[in-house]
Subunit: 376 residues, 4 copies
């Protein structure tokens, strides 16, 4: 692996593209569910109609393995539903040269975190801006990140990037994302929980010492495309189960983004017999009595500049059916008549607001575009 001349050596200020400048994207890893949604969103994005993205497989060009691979896999072979987007694009082997030749500016990685950990340093060095959909760069604290068992070729460089990476929730880190070289897309569960809790925790009204309980439920697409005993229709259909109690990797994101300790927040994921969608039910106590009106006002104020957050008026609550196939995160709540016990309900589509849609939203922010462009 040789160090390449930065692809955009003269790019000057990051994050200040004029509307006329044509930006090129590349997506590495389009075989999974999030990759398919990402391809779909980019192909239909109004700002990218003159700058078709390129789609890369996980194999590196020139590798023995990739040589054997059929070079003409089309995007629509992998995902027939994309045929309606004219997705006759070939999925080509990954190649730094190709990224340079095509003048790519933003690279999306929808790959296992080990692969991301290997490729991102070079990508950044090459002047690419990266939106990474894996868990590789989400956690800043080394002890939290340990759950990913990362092995870096250059640990110092990796640690520096880890520190530089911006957590990819525009609603919380819009300014940093605008200028970021590396945006770490969030965990899907984490997005649903953090978006619900952040306004209240930041306002300092949550009794954090009492502890916060996050009971989350996700559709099967969250388990990935690999056929396993647990993704078999016969296992998942008509069933429900809890898993990874006290041990899910997204917990570290909650801790870091909400500024709480791991003993103050508890997260239990469950597998739902539906294709997509997450519903998180979150239990907390407020430090002082308040009213539903105040809670709603606080949420609305926090998200007043966030077009992809919808706040329900209590007692109306979000439902999965109203967020699937959208890039919204819907928030609702019910406050006990004691004015202190609060139940938050948060819904999003794990493949969109929890993955591909969020990645496009981050891209929009990085390029100074309307963050909801191509997402409604």
């Amino acid at each position: 692996m040789t160090t390449l001349t930065p692809i955009l050596a003269t790019s000057g200020e990051v994050g200040s593209h004029s509307a006329k400048h044509t930006v090129r994207m590349a997506v590495a890893g389009v075989s999974g569910y999030a990759g398919a949604e990402l391809a779909r969103l980019l192909l239909a994005h109004p700002r990218l109609q003159d700058a078709r993205p390129i789609f890369l497989g996980r194999m590196v060009e020139g590798d023995a393995a990739s040589g054997a691979q059929a070079p003409q896999t089309l995007l629509s072979d992998l995902h027939p539903q994309l045929a309606s987007y004219g997705a006759t694009d070939a999925v080509v082997p990954f190649s730094w040269q190709r990224l340079r030749d095509e003048g790519i500016e933003i690279l999306f990685l929808a790959l296992p975190h080990e692969q991301s950990r290997e490729w991102v340093p070079q990508a950044i060095e090459s002047g690419l801006r990266v939106v990474d959909l894996s868990g590789a760069w989400r956690l800043h604290d080394v002890s939290n990140a340990a759950v990913y068992k990362l092995h870096d070729a250059d640990p110092v460089q990796a640690a520096r990037l880890q520190n530089e990476a911006v957590y990819g929730l525009p609603e919380l880190h819009r300014d940093a994302i605008r200028k970021a070289r590396l945006v770490a897309n969030t965990g899907c569960y984490a997005a649903s929980i953090i978006l619900a809790l952040a306004p209240l925790v930041r306002a300092g009204i949550v009794d954090i010492e009492h502890g916060i309980i996050c009971d989350s439920k996700s559709g099967v697409s969250g388990s990935g495309k690999a056929p396993t005993a647990k993704t078999h229709f016969m296992y998942a259909a008509n069933n429900m189960s809890a898993y990874n109690v006290f041990g899910h990797r997204h917990t570290g994101e909650l801790v870091e983004q909400l500024g709480v300790t791991s003993s103050q927040i508890q997260f239990t994921p469950h597998l739902l017999p539906i294709p997509r969608g997450i519903l998180s039910t979150i239990y907390l106590r407020l430090k002082q009595q308040t009213t539903s009106h105040n809670v709603e006002a606080l949420l609305r104020e926090f998200y007043k500049a966030s077009p992809l957050i919808r706040v329900h008026r209590s007692p109306s609550l979000p439902q999965i059916q109203y967020v699937v196939h959208t890039n919204y995160c819907d928030l609702g709540f019910e406050l006990h008549e004691d004015g202190k016990r609060l139940v938050l309900v948060s819904c999003l589509d794990n493949l969109l607001k929890g993955a591909a849609g969020q990645a496009v939203q981050n891209m929009n922010v990085m390029l100074g575009w309307n963050e909801a462009e191509g997402l409604r």
Copy 2:
């Protein structure tokens, strides 16, 4: 409504039937899901092969309305799946006279609670023993029972019966059920929660002051057979939603049976896109550090004489797929490494262990039979 001579005026000791005595059952209200399951269990019950139950509709014989009703509705017309049980029994109008003529000893009521409230006093007066599947008689505290908005013809008598009624969980009230005249079958959610919590709460190891969170998920059959906007396939399928936050009627059962206050326990039901099954995820803190081994031992000891409770060994957890179409309640848990934060998971089939199977289990206990008979 005239007062009838007690049907079993000379029954002597309640609860001491010899094996030879043939006991006759009647079921009032077989049109719903629980009624269908109850009919199925009774028709297949090994101890009732010589004493076929009778099945009664909600209409009273002689009423104008019932006169218009087709008198020859068969059980298998209402529930074609029961045809395999030879369910060519006619569903006959309700009649006290018929109950007397047929020598009925145990009357099951699978009716709205208002109807139950009206009929149970006379049934008891007539010497019948009653297993009631509605919410009419579950709550002893008047303030808790207020959620059912009960209007009694004879409030004094009703209050006395309310007090006498035994809460129908054999695992907790076996001795009282054995002798009971009126057994109040539990709420389906309540059964799943109480069975998980009772051993720990009674052992005094739960930090009740900290509060207990019960996040429950139920299949659509829990919403009843009436077609509504919320039971429409298009609404329920691929969806999930929370409802009745802080306001579900089963909460009073938790409070009374666990001996906690309503501010110490919190219950949130959710609607799952599956036909049947409940999974409750329960969050609590222990007063003192303990081990998984101890928690499991405590649960096993508590249920050592309860054949229909199955305890998982941590980290194995119950799943809905393994309890549906059974009368089991499966219990599992995970204890945090801090030794104090505990997550309990409880699963049952809301129509069986949560309704019809529980009713038969109660009948078995009332008659001195093996409580699992006909339920495995």
Copy 3:
């Protein structure tokens, strides 16, 4: 009901709108599933961004009933998922005056066929062009139309309109639709079958005398939004059933559009436990031996100018998962090695290509726009 001055008295040539002319649409009947999809498609249609459609309920302004109705029902109240389209539009009572005042040119009716039969004559008389989604105007032969039991105020006028109405499949009747005053959207089942069969039948290669078997399967949304015993989740989920064997209303459309007799084609609908999508499996014999290559070529030639038809290469076959939420009809087939027995498989989304999407496609054709505009 008085006769109104034609709204577009001077509209001159029908079907020749320049791009600059702003066309206004109205949709009557937005409470159902097809209505919701129609509203969504129109709100997102690129050619209608400056000419927001208006949405009308089924009640007529000034009626006693409508007076009682809450006048401020919003589209997003009826269909929360439309909130993402900024659907804060009020659904207003139906009124001829309003249609005139707003300068409406095209009126969509997503109403029961009786209502359509009542309103369409006046709409046409008023100079409106109509796309009707009911079954009221699909059938030209009086004996076929008898299945709808139509009662007309002015039978002569109705018969004339019935005769004038164009069957709303642009792939078959594009030219007539372009100039039509009244377009009768097709039955959803009928669309899936006719699109598969028309190329072969018109080519004269089908052994029609032998008979054609159409075995169709549809998701639950085809049964409408009214909660009934058959749309209850508990009935539809995990189930499948055939219904209306030999008696489904869409059969007449097959007969008329394919030019066969009712004894030459047989259609059996089935209810699938999925929200949306139709798959039709069609069995026929060819008059003479042919090859897969020829069958495919014939289909492709027939649909070469039809952007919303996708033809599979045998043995690849359409699946419901690849057409739901799209406006495509996917066609595939397998030819027996005898060269004569042919199985056609056709898939579409019953709410889109089978209803709302087809209506928008018809609108596009009527206005001289690209027929796929707003549908990909």
Copy 4:
């Protein structure tokens, strides 16, 4: 593989067990769905309460591979839902010695057909009676059986057994099954189709020359337990697809059992998004006009001694919901008013009447027991 002394050398007359004789069963291959159902039925079978079956894995005792395998896999580890049947039985490696030591009389094989083809000859030679659930022995005609690509160690012996094997539909071959040494359980699709057609075809009233169309739909369990792209929840849920058009292996069974040629019957299977259940819609013409009454009478007469067939009265039709979890095959039909075009609808549970339940029914017949024993 050495030839063993016949296990039951003195068994004398096959098929004449007195009630007192204790019969022992073994099941080889309990890891799949049919194996699990078979284990469940045998464990609960009233005639086997004193003669627990033994359960064998696919590994042969003493093989290197089996040595590595955990020897203490419990039935309830493989299938937690069987725990309620006290299924703490160990699944032991396959061993001829063990079968002999345990005095096994009937061996069930729920294994791939290659394995069955290898083991059955020795089993028969050892005096065991075999119920085989694979496709290995269903077809008598060599050209039909070619679809299974069978390779036999001793082709002559295999051909002899192939010829001897009885097709395992008691409704058609009850007498032969009673005395059979080798019963070949049927294909699940084939059972649903043959049971519907046999009465009519045998009565000679079907216009076979015209051709019979069988359009069948099956739940996902029919695709087996191996996780694959097609059994992934994300692929199967909300979807439907046709497959193996003109090429499904069960077609040979239709041809042989109904006595038609392969050009006279056509079978198309489809995958349904449900766990279990088959619905077959069958299209045919009668030679002469008849009435619904006659068709129903013919079906009832044919099955008058078959307790597991239920005939609907037209226009009532079978539905999957009423046969799942039962061992019934439900039959219904609709006759066109022309008196000649007939649509048959047949439903069964592919894991029960189509596999495990049928195997137990065959066992019952083989042992002279009531054929429905343990199946209702």
